[in-house]
């Protein structure tokens, strides 16, 4: 069952546009959103969070349009846009205290568990955290209210290989509980490690939105790794 559906999303800037972006996210599946820097990943994700206004297209969560149902939808999804870049001098505890008052399903026990798992000290402020720990801090907030879908913009960037591995394993565990996970990345090994589905964007257009197996069947050449496939596609080469 699709819990997020994007249809014909379009957003134009003076020197760039994303156009005809369509894909859907399924319950219990991990979707990797891949594309090079500037391909339109962040614009798409910001549109999905109503942070930028699309010029056209439909965005639906749980069968409801985002416009007009923003607050109710955001109660049921978790999201992080890269690292924590707000309230750098505030302690994690202070921010969490405010955040929990907004979420009907805030789970204090879950919050404590992730705090421990990510080895975060809630008496520290974002300014005192490394880039990797800031990503974890953002994930901590996104994961602590029992979200049914997680939308994460480059959650693995800045993480050391061990933390990345831990995080991707965590994705597996969360998706097994029925949560849809959508994460953007330009690190192809992240996709190889855990993605069930791939949404591939290039120059503002969706090239493929399908399961990883279908993607490999359609685009990869024999004995070619996923990374080699993407590099070949980005160079403009085809299967021929």
């Amino acid at each position: 069952m699709s819990i997020v559906t994007i249809r014909n999303l379009k957003k134009s800037y003076p020197s760039f546009e994303v156009d005809m972006i369509s894909f859907s996210l399924e319950r219990g599946r991990i979707t990797g959103f891949i594309g090079r820097n500037g391909a339109g990943k962040t614009t798409t994700i910001k549109s999905m969070l109503n942070m930028v206004h699309p010029d056209g297209g439909d965005i639906e969560y749980f069968g409801m349009p985002l416009r007009g149902n923003e607050a109710a939808i955001k109660q049921r999804i978790g999201y992080s846009t890269g690292t924590v870049n707000w309230y750098p001098r505030r302690k994690i505890r202070e921010i969490a205290d405010v955040m929990k008052s907004f979420y009907e399903n805030w789970d204090e026990e879950l919050y404590r568990r992730y705090l421990e798992m990510f080895e975060l000290d809630e008496e520290k402020s974002a300014l005192e955290l490394s880039e990797g720990m800031k990503v974890k801090c953002n994930l901590l907030f996104a994961l602590s209210h029992g979200a049914e879908a997680l939308i994460l913009d480059e959650p693995t960037s800045g993480l050391d290989p061990f933390s990345r591995d831990e995080l991707l394993e965590l994705f597996d565990r969360i998706s097994a509980e029925g949560v849809a996970i959508f994460f953007s990345t330009h690190i192809i090994s992240d996709i190889e490690k855990c993605a069930d589905d791939i949404v591939y964007i290039s120059h503002g257009k969706i090239v493929a939105a399908m399961s990883r197996d279908e993607f490999c069947n359609e685009f990869s050449q024999p004995n070619e790794s996923l990374e080699e496939t993407f590099l070949r596609l980005e160079r403009g080469e085809t299967n021929a």
Binding site: L49, V52, A71, I73, T81, Y87, D97, S101
Partner: protein, 217 residues
């Protein structure tokens, strides 16, 4: 609504916004343009807007499970709270000057505007102008504070100047009434100020919601 207001107070507000409420007590000062007290209260609010902007509060708020118009509502609610707290201090000063200190020589010989209900009405008008010009201007971009604040400063001090000058104009000396003199007129001017405050704040809120809704963050 309560959680948005608490977010504003606990995270977004600069401590100066709370400290500067005390400038409402400038209504006690003799020989001083008392309406400047209103300006200093709004100066604290301006600091708060800057503080929140530096902390990237708009993006933080946009990620919370609230509609974009609720972000605007929170900022207006916080500003109105601070303004009304400052105004209550002004009211206390006015009530004391109208009663216990009604005959005080210090206030009677004051060449400047008397702190009475007319002054309170003017303070509300000025708070309304702050909400209309500064907050409304801020939400056009959600990051530019300089231009709307300078515009507000100019309008604010022109109004303060006019308010200070009015009672020197023949026939308008009654605006400087002491104690309960011309109480009907004093209350009418207070009511007019309150109406301006409500109308300007509401208009600005509506306009800010519309502008903020279409901004890309």
């Amino acid at each position: 609504m309560r959680n948005i207001l608490m977010k504003e107070m606990k995270l977004s507000a600069s401590p100066l916004a709370f400290f500067f409420i005390a400038f409402g007590l400038m209504f006690f000062l003799p020989g001083y343009p008392v309406l400047c007290g209103e300006f200093f209260v709004t100066l604290g609010l301006y600091q708060s807007f800057q503080y929140a902007r530096e902390a990237n509060d708009i993006v933080f708020s946009a990620l919370l499970p609230i509609a974009k118009k609720d972000i605007v509502k929170g900022r207006f609610a916080f500003s109105c709270c601070i303004e009304l707290c400052g105004w209550v201090l002004m009211l206390i000063a006015v009530l004391l000057r109208m009663t216990a200190f009604a005959e005080a020589e210090l206030y009677r010989t004051n060449a400047l505007m008397n702190a009475n209900f007319f002054a309170l009405g003017m303070a509300l008008l000025l708070f309304g102008m702050f909400n209309l010009i500064f907050i409304g201007g801020f939400f056009k971009t959600a990051y530019k504070t300089g231009k709307p604040f300078i515009t507000y400063i100019i309008v604010c001090f022109v109004i303060i100047g006019v308010a200070e000058a009015l009672h020197h104009i023949p026939g308008l000396a009654v605006l400087n009434a002491f104690g309960s003199e011309h109480i009907g007129l004093q209350l009418a001017t207070l009511l007019a100020g309150a109406c301006c405050y409500v109308i300007f704040t509401f208009l600005s809120y509506r306009r800010s919601c519309d502008s903020f809704e279409v901004i890309d963050l």
